[in-house]
């Protein structure tokens, strides 16, 4: 009830995995919800705090205090070396607490899944924790807990990762375990059978959750089944059944190569010492030829269409609106970042200010560009009260049109300051820093990326915002997915005239008679 440690912005995270993360399960109510926003990464140095010691007499509360200059930014000292087998190491020493984070970033993710076998990358990642040539699945878990270390594996679109978070007191043992998990999987058949069965059940349980149904259907409708981004990372029931052990071994054998990987290391270590240790553990990992992943060019929606998925009795409707956006390599990155911050990237952004703080239709509305190796989706979203589904869609479309007009200068300036001054918060913990380095590695950003970050935000003009809004946010060509109680919401949606209404099933596919 009371131990809400580790609360992220506005979300009460309740871990079911672990007994000890006491998570205010029953009890936490929050005022806010997080605004999803991609944020890059400098590390700052302690700065001098302004010492304009105030006078207590004659306090005038009507004006906010004048603030001193923001603290200076200095970049993280990021040392990069490459082992003879091609494994690149990116190391940041951070000695505040006796802990360290290691992320082995393999630069291929779900994009590499075979077409009918969506979920291979994520199942490969999961299987790494299920046994090595010298440790069983239970041994791995036992030793993790014994060391107080945590090993996680996972897969996104662009990368698959094996990560270790450990107290440095047991660094040797933890690293040995970590290397074993990453390099010597045993692919035990009975463990795969168990994971597959668990995954089939999880996929079935998605039918319980309207937001998850909406996310999957939206991706499927926007990209189609012949583009990797149209297929779910964790697969479908059909693809999960089809995946064989050989598929996982093939994925691993093709992509888990030192010349396709980077090790990010942040924490209470010395660069020289850790380079040597990683060399000893990962130096014999053999390189290989890594296949290219091909992407079909996705088709943008030709007209705006409302795809309605029935969830009888749902008290809220899950709304997803958007189109195919841009790859991370876009030259419009900074203009889009600022534009989206104004539109739906922060608490005071237009979407949240309108749908939540003015209308009260939702607990939170936001928008984001998912920038990946290829063009990921632009999505505006909210969970809205069922009875206001049509009104909410009306407001969404109004904001998507309005962002194409000139953004007033104070609003633009607020968004720029929010991005620029919000940077230090992204660099507090070893885990924060490590996760901020990921995009640098993954998208081959220049080493001086963060040196120029603040300036490049500053350079974004009203004209830039208007240009990118008109280029990438076209309300006349959007796919809209709404999961809710069809009977009560369809009449209102018809009356709006936003686009044709098409009924889809729970996976976003046409309904068969």
């Amino acid at each position: 009830m009371t131990r809400d440690w580790g609360m992220a912005r506005g979300e009460s995270h309740c871990s079911v995995r672990s007994a000890l993360v006491l998570c205010a399960l029953v009890s936490l109510g929050c005022a806010r919800r997080p605004a999803a926003e991609e944020m890059p990464t400098p590390v700052m140095q302690p700065a001098t705090v302004p010492t304009d010691t105030p006078k207590v007499a004659s306090l005038d509360r009507s004006k906010p205090p004048t603030l001193g200059d923001p603290p200076d930014l200095t970049l993280p000292v990021m040392s990069r070396t490459t082992l003879p087998n091609g494994l690149e190491l990116v190391i940041v020493e951070q000695h505040e607490l006796p802990v360290a984070d290691f992320i082995l970033l393999v630069q291929t993710g779900g994009e590499g899944d075979p077409a009918r076998k969506a979920g291979v990358a994520s199942l490969t990642a999961a299987m790494l924790q299920e046994g090595t040539t010298s440790r069983t699945s239970l041994d791995i878990a036992d030793q993790e807990a014994y060391l107080g270390a945590s090993i996680q594996t996972g897969s996104g679109w662009d990368a698959t990762n094996v990560s270790l978070h450990t107290p440095t007191a047991q660094l040797d043992s933890a690293l040995a375990l970590f290397a074993d998990v990453a390099l010597r999987p045993s692919w035990t058949a009975k463990e795969l059978a168990r994971l597959r069965d668990e995954r089939m059940t999880s996929l079935m349980q998605i039918r319980d959750r309207a937001p998850a149904i909406a996310d999957r259907a939206y991706a499927s409708i926007l990209y189609g089944g012949d583009h990797p981004y149209g297929r779910p990372l964790t697969g479908t029931e059909a693809s999960t059944k089809a995946i064989q052990r050989a598929d996982l071994q093939r994925f691993y054998g093709s992509y888990f190569r030192p010349n396709n990987a980077t090790m990010i290391i942040v924490g209470d270590v010395s660069a020289a010492d850790i380079t040597q240790r990683i060399g000893e553990l990962f130096g014999k990992w053999s390189p290989g030829k890594v296949p290219n992943v091909e992407f079909r060019e996705p088709r943008l929606p030709a007209v705006t269409t409302v795809y309605l998925i029935d969830k009888p009795g749902a008290p809220q409707s899950s709304v997803r609106i958007g189109t195919v956006g841009v790859p991370r390599s876009t030259e419009d990155y900074f203009a889009l970042l600022v534009m989206n911050t104004v539109l739906g990237g922060s608490f005071t952004s237009r979407l949240n200010a309108n749908l939540r703080e003015t209308k009260g239709y939702t607990y939170g509305a936001n928008s984001r560009f998912d920038m990946r190796r290829a063009a990921g989706p632009f999505t505006a979203r909210a969970e809205v009260t069922g009875g206001k589904t049509d009104s909410s869609l009306f407001e969404f479309m109004k904001e998507l049109r309005a962002i194409r007009d000139t953004v007033p200068s104070p609003e633009l300036e607020k968004a720029k300051r929010y991005l620029q001054l919000g940077l230090p918060a992204r660099f507090e913990t070893t885990g924060d820093i490590a996760s901020q380095i990921i995009p640098i590695v993954l998208y081959d950003l220049p080493t001086d990326y963060f040196n120029t970050y603040v300036r490049r935000i500053e350079d974004v003009t009203q004209a830039d915002i208007q240009r990118v809004a008109n280029k990438y946010v076209d309300p006349a060509r959007m796919s809209i997915v709404i999961v809710g109680d069809r009977k009560s919401i369809e009449p209102g949606l018809k009356g709006l005239g936003v686009g044709d209404i098409v009924i889809r099933d729970l996976s976003g596919q046409p309904v068969r008679p």
Partner: protein, 458 residues
């Protein structure tokens, strides 16, 4: 094959055994140096300097939560929390968030049964802004309070309830169990989020009365953690908070007596779910009771990792359950111990109940191994380090200690609670608390009430 694997395991285990003393010593939880003082108006101020990044966090605790609500007004403490962001005498509607965002800050608030907190984290130069804003809403919320603010946040909170409870599978479990665990007038018998009817009933007069009663400096503590200059910060605190008048004496908070259940209670709830789910809930102890930490360890031993009793048997070996969790959930007044299991398709909740009972009984009868205890303790110790990462976490933690144990300087003592636990303690608390009567809720797919567990299982 199997044999060589098990030999390898034993060798490794031997190595780890040798390493234990070093582990315990090297991972000791660092002390957090703090200065605490109290303003003449009763406001407690806690300062913790950490110059590792140029960030500062402010955390304000008000010593009021949903347990202080009145019948017919459940959810009010949390609704009030929302209203606190809607501006005050010198801060226009919306300006609170706009000013903080323009300064690069993040902010939020949270409400539990026991307390309400408000927090900001920002670049260190913005500290005076956060103090000015927080002080304005502590001292001068009501002059601009109106029905519009209340109605708007009432709608937002109703959507928070829909998004977190009503439109979520199994979302009502906790409020249904809570209502069965406690008598109707017990402060923990209703959920923090409240009921839709009570949220609808809240009036502007309720807002004013609640503010006057609870939102006063003598019912609050403010923690500032991070990169700041101590002298100027103390001067700012004095400037912005010093002349906010002390509030009236606080109403006495009820101290309900311990609850004993004479028999098990069996409940069923139909929900739009694919699979049933079983909830077992026992009365346990309050936060920081001498058995509280031991119950955390017991929870870990039952369901904390892959080798834990319930996970290993139900999920890993037998594969009859999709997931299992166990936790000690403790508050200022009392606590509960939960074990939750979702059976695999085709498996019955009754079978889960029988298996849970067997495993609980096994701990009660035979205790736990040294290895199980050490796994739990080492994991807990490692997580303590993580709680000290980041000034926002630290500010919240210091305020939490200050509220629950009366001093912010408690992190090492908190960690020591877990180091002290013995295998015998775990066996004893299993018997003392899980050996008693419980509430058993089965959530079943709509139309399948016959899946309800009505006894010891099977």
């Amino acid at each position: 094959m199997k044999k060589s694997l098990s030999i390898a395991t034993r060798c490794i285990a031997g190595l780890f055994m040798l390493a234990v003393p070093a582990l315990a010593a090297a991972q000791s939880v660092p002390k957090l140096a703090v200065e605490k003082y109290t303003l003449p108006n009763g406001l407690e101020v806690i300062l913790h300097e950490d110059r590792s990044v140029p960030m500062v966090a402010v955390n304000t605790f008000y010593k009021v939560g949903s347990a202080d609500e009145l019948p017919g007004r459940t959810g009010f403490a949390h609704l009030f929390e929302h209203i606190m962001f809607m501006g005050s005498q010198n801060v226009a509607v919306g300006a609170f968030d706009q000013m903080l965002e323009a300064a690069g800050a993040q902010n939020n608030g949270s409400t539990t049964e026991d307390r309400t907190d408000y927090n900001e984290e920002m670049p260190s130069n913005a500290l005076p802004l956060a103090l000015w804003l927080d002080a304005d809403r502590m001292g001068f919320l009501l002059p601009t309070m109106d029905m519009q603010k209340l109605d708007l946040q009432r709608d937002v909170v109703k959507n928070e309830r829909r998004q977190g409870v009503d439109n979520v599978p199994y979302g009502r479990a906790f409020e249904v169990v809570g209502a069965a665990m406690y008598p109707k007038d017990h402060p923990y018998s209703w959920p923090v989020i409240g009921s839709m009817a009570d949220l609808s009933a809240a009036t502007l007069e309720d807002v004013k009365q609640f503010f006057r009663t609870y939102y006063a400096p003598n019912n609050a503590s403010i923690t500032i953690a991070g990169d700041f200059n101590r002298d100027s910060t103390k001067a700012w605190v004095e400037r912005y908070y010093g002349d906010i008048p002390r509030g009236p004496a606080l109403p006495e908070r009820p101290a309900p007596s311990a609850i004993t259940m004479a028999s098990d209670t069996f409940l069923v709830l139909e929900d739009r779910v694919q699979l049933p789910r079983l909830y077992n809930t026992w009365h346990s102890v309050k936060y920081f009771h001498e058995d509280d930490g031991t119950l955390d360890i017991l929870a870990y031993v039952l369901a904390g990792d892959k080798n834990s009793r319930l996970y290993k048997r139900l999920v890993y070996d037998m594969q009859v359950a999709q997931d299992v969790s166990a936790f000690q959930n403790s508050g200022r007044l009392v606590g509960q111990f939960w074990v939750i299991v979702t059976p695999k398709p085709g498996q019955s909740p009754a079978r889960m109940a029988k298996l849970v009972n067997e495993e609980v009984q096994r701990v009660i009868n035979d205790g736990i191994t040294a290895r199980e205890l050490t796994r739990a303790q080492n994991t807990v110790r490692a997580r303590f380090l993580d709680r000290l990462a980041g000034v926002r976490n630290k500010a919240a933690l210091l305020n939490t200690y200050n509220y629950f144990v009366g001093t912010p300087e408690y992190v090492q003592k908190d960690a020591a609670r877990y180091d002290r636990v013995t295998a015998e303690d775990v066996k004893r608390v299993a018997s003392s608390y899980l050996g008693k009567k419980k509430v058993v809720l089965t959530i079943v797919p709509t139309g399948k009430p016959d899946l309800m567990v009505k006894g010891g299982g099977e």
